[in-house]
Subunit: 346 residues, 4 copies
């Protein structure tokens, strides 16, 4: 890191700072400029604690990190892209994976019908919420374990692996009994105990970007999971908070190629939550694949105008069926493919 001293700092205060650095077993390289002095610190990775302490010294103007704060998630240290399997599905590989299903599991007919339909259209993973984080205590909060059981039923019917959200560390074990992928939602991206508990599970994790998380914070959240021992992490861009309420969020699609450059982890795009409007899902799903996303997660409901949650952003079964060949065309245009659809027979 680089310690920037205030203009006009007397020499003895600069030496104070150099001493503080050397006491930590590190090497200080001062550069005496015309306007001010900066001190380079050599000898370790970035240390936030030291940066904070030095920032608190009166004569220090600022401390600038130079190394990356994350290591396990960084492509600099792990140049090869991570891939892993969920059932037969390879995540992060040559082929693009599509996950689809309703926001919430509502009943057996709804989830099984949806699962069959999205499978027929080419989805390879079934999404569905059993534990739902809701802004208001008066909203439908999911079916809980009964919902997990219905997801298992839908999996048995279709062969599609299941992704579902887990809200709290105490539920990880329960959810992992039913789910093939644990989803950590945007509001929980910095629920560090949940990250670690998922890091100790043996199920792959989809980590949504926080509602206003920087890319560094997102990768540091992934670092928590990786550091706890679970290497099967995928990142999901789902829109960030913006000042224009015309869409639910701003879909920060540049984050897809940027994160793939900074990290070796697979990146999934969620155009449903990112836009909040079903008629924007198709164009933004296509854009997501065009800029390199490894997959999509899309909300689909047989009757959006009767859905218990997220109807306005859900595709009908028909609209999802129309979307899939368009996504495939974009994948081909980028020299990839969508994973081939499962045969219907089981």
């Amino acid at each position: 890191m680089i310690v920037v001293m205030k203009t006009g700092t007397p020499e003895h205060e600069i030496h104070e700072v150099i001493k503080r650095i050397e006491e930590q077993g590190l090497i200080a390289h001062p550069i005496f400029g015309a306007e001010r002095t900066v001190v380079g610190v050599v000898g370790s990775s970035f240390r936030q604690d030291l940066a904070d302490m030095l920032s608190s010294v009166e004569a220090v103007e600022s401390v600038i990190p130079v190394s990356k704060k994350y290591k396990l998630a960084s492509r600099e240290f792990h140049p090869v892209s991570t891939t892993f399997k969920v059932g037969d599905v390879v995540i992060g590989g040559e082929e693009v994976v599509v996950m689809a299903g309703p926001c919430s599991v509502e009943n057996e007919e709804q989830i099984v019908t949806t699962a069959r339909a999205v499978k027929a259209s080419g989805a390879r993973i079934l999404r569905g919420g059993a534990f739902k984080p809701r802004t208001s205590p008066y909203q439908f909060r999911g079916m809980g374990e009964d919902g997990l059981k219905l997801l298992a039923t839908a999996r048995a019917e279709t062969g599609l692996p299941v992704i579902t959200e887990v809200l709290t560390p105490a539920d990880v074990e329960l959810v992992a009994q039913y789910a093939d992928i644990l989803q950590i939602g945007a509001r929980n991206m910095q629920n560090f105990l949940l990250l670690e508990e998922c890091g100790r599970s043996n199920k792959p994790v989809l980590l949504k970007r926080g509602i206003s998380a920087t890319i560094e914070e997102w990768l540091l959240a992934a670092e928590y999971i990786l550091n706890a021992g679970n290497k099967e992490v995928m990142l999901c861009e789902r829109g960030i908070r913006g000042y224009d309420t015309m869409t639910r969020n701003i879909f920060d699609l540049s984050a897809v190629p940027l994160v793939k450059k900074l990290s070796h982890l697979p990146v999934i795009a969620d155009p449903s939550h990112a836009t909040g409007k079903w008629y924007l899902v198709e164009p933004m799903a296509m854009a997501s694949i065009a800029c390199g996303a490894d997959g999509l997660i899309i909300e689909v409901h047989p009757n959006p105008d009767h859905a218990l949650s997220d109807g306005p952003q859900s595709l009908t079964l028909e609209n999802f069926a129309k979307l899939m060949p368009k996504v495939e065309k974009i994948a081909v245009a980028t020299e990839r493919h969508v994973l081939p659809r499962l045969s219907q027979a089981r």
Copy 2:
């Protein structure tokens, strides 16, 4: 709520919507305008589920809530300001309360020294973190239960009640054994299970505003706690995420008078986290009281440049001592007072 139909919607589709509303036992009031039709819905409080369903109807352009989404937190329904006691300290009353202490409890000497000093300067509640949420897994994360015990020691030494953060539902019982006030941090504002668990505890709760929470979301988070049975909730404005990295956050001080108008709950301001710079704490503490905050929570450390966390935003014991009479002067200028300092003798 008001259902806005798309321009040129044929009459039978408007009647479809009216039928949907009436099926719910509600009354629909269509207004046929020159450009478009809107349908007023009368007969219940705002229902998010119905709003979502109607928004999903093809012919509907948008659904606009009219009623407030929160009730228990709303001043409209509870015009009298809430006050409650923590030990001898009244929160939300005529007098302003100051909470102070280090970001993290580091050792007995640090916490007891700080507690004595802030008490001598006029703080009436001691803050200190034992469970710390940290952006990186490589940062100091607090002393855990040992930290709670040291807080209890400092309380025994000084008589100051203690506020400390709880990170996860499973810890609420433990933390409540030691703490006088449970703090829910910004990253956990929408950790709904934690809100409910705190709502079932018998300790007052300080609910920090989420990193990019709207005021409505913040009040709905309070609604979770109130709805679970705990009426002793105070709200804490601690800065929101902005686009300028020159300060840690943007201190949204207008939220103080606005929330006090919308809600009957006490509002505390946290200029330390809001600004991230110790030299901005004094002016912004003064501004907080000037616009009507019921109290302050301020980070104080005997040696900020050796603090294990948040040094750059911590006041020294001396600077805190200088702050308190300035805060008192502002309180007096707004026809309030700071709670009188405790006598040192115990």
Copy 3:
């Protein structure tokens, strides 16, 4: 519009508001709900002045617009997509147009070399800045009229029409003498006198979205140009301000399909300014076309590491040449094409 009254407003105050509405020759439709009364206003388009006046009445909680504030820019009133020609180039039609060139015109060799190269790769319009808005007074601010002359030289050499920025109303006539398209930059999106002056010119206008403009504000800015008589307006999404400084801006790509739904005007995407990093330009150019942009505007420089401005986001001639077939593939995947490249002979 809908006037929402405060809870518990006495009837006579509601009648005051109804009277105010009727005095304007409009019809008031009160709906008396359980919690509060709302008054629908029928008889004109949205009137901001009346909305402001009614909002200022003590008993009024809020006033909610229902009609769109823009008419000329709205697809609701002009369902057919606008197309127009710049030389031989059709903007807003079936085929996608690519504009390319350096941030700033620096000298004859630079602009002519770049113009030839981008033409050879398939660009159909040449961009280049002569009047540059710069954050600091100490930065290079463009060559002024000499730069315009060099753009004209490059057009004469290549046949490519020229787009360049105009900064102030007094320069519109001068710039229009040289340019084929007038560009209004992000910082000037609400320079209303400039909008009107461009609206009175006979040259097409490219209107960049303001640094933190809402979509409504952007369309209202276009409305100024249209209202002044110029119907040849295209909108350009170039990224909006965000809280993460890792990219220059957030590329709000969802705005492309959303604006095309709300408005009949063509939409161009600018991945260079939106991302600020040359290595993100290719994926985001592809994503832009995938979600329906009618064209791209891209910064290209023969030697980005010697450019006088915007080097970090400029493609080399080689990288631009590699980009074009990829963009074409995406266009084909969406059932469009990129406009065929001009023959080199002139």
Copy 4:
């Protein structure tokens, strides 16, 4: 500035960068760290052009400025606070100045009545808009020169100097004939030609912060005016764009003490535009003075519910009269005063 090289950059590429720096007559100080090399650049103030060029070099990860980009506006180079006089009123001195008046001048009675009333309550400068920037072309845009004449009438009646907005360089001379202070609005903060034209005028300038301007951008905008020769510049915090539409803007009050630390220029606060709600003006005006603002600018209208613009955020004459003693109390609590009210006799 500091040039951060990518990890694993071969030595000869580092030497390339060093050569580029030395070619500019500057000195390069490489520091070879364990993970990466950084190169300190010594010998000039920050040079954006060189920073951009070096950032464009393949092997360079980033370039970090160390010096401030502004000089004339910086307290580092001009430690003494700037003060100047407008008529008898000292701006930036010990005493706090209050400017007040309507958003728009509407007619003689309105402006003269308001001027007399705000003078009687203690305002020392009259505000009023004659040229109004409006989001929609269909809104009232001010009376133009007729409005300026009415401001001059109101000044003649009351002796209050006048502040009014100028929208475009071509109007500076005209507006300066009538106004005592030129106001540059938020939308024009980066209208660089306007900044320079005001910089060439001999009237003091109030520069509002841009709608989403960083503090550095704001100070660089002031730098344009100062660099053009006008040293009488005051900065005005008027709220920045946020994600919560409950208030018109976010009032970034921490910017007041922060800018006063970074710059020697006076800082004025505008709680009317910052909040957009008249009932928040009083508490936020008090907070502004509490954190060190040198003055206030406040919208006041005899009949806000009949105002042609900004009614919802305007104080009535009575509410302004009630505000002034409260502001005075806060000023006293911070060891300042509000400038004494003018005697009514003329």
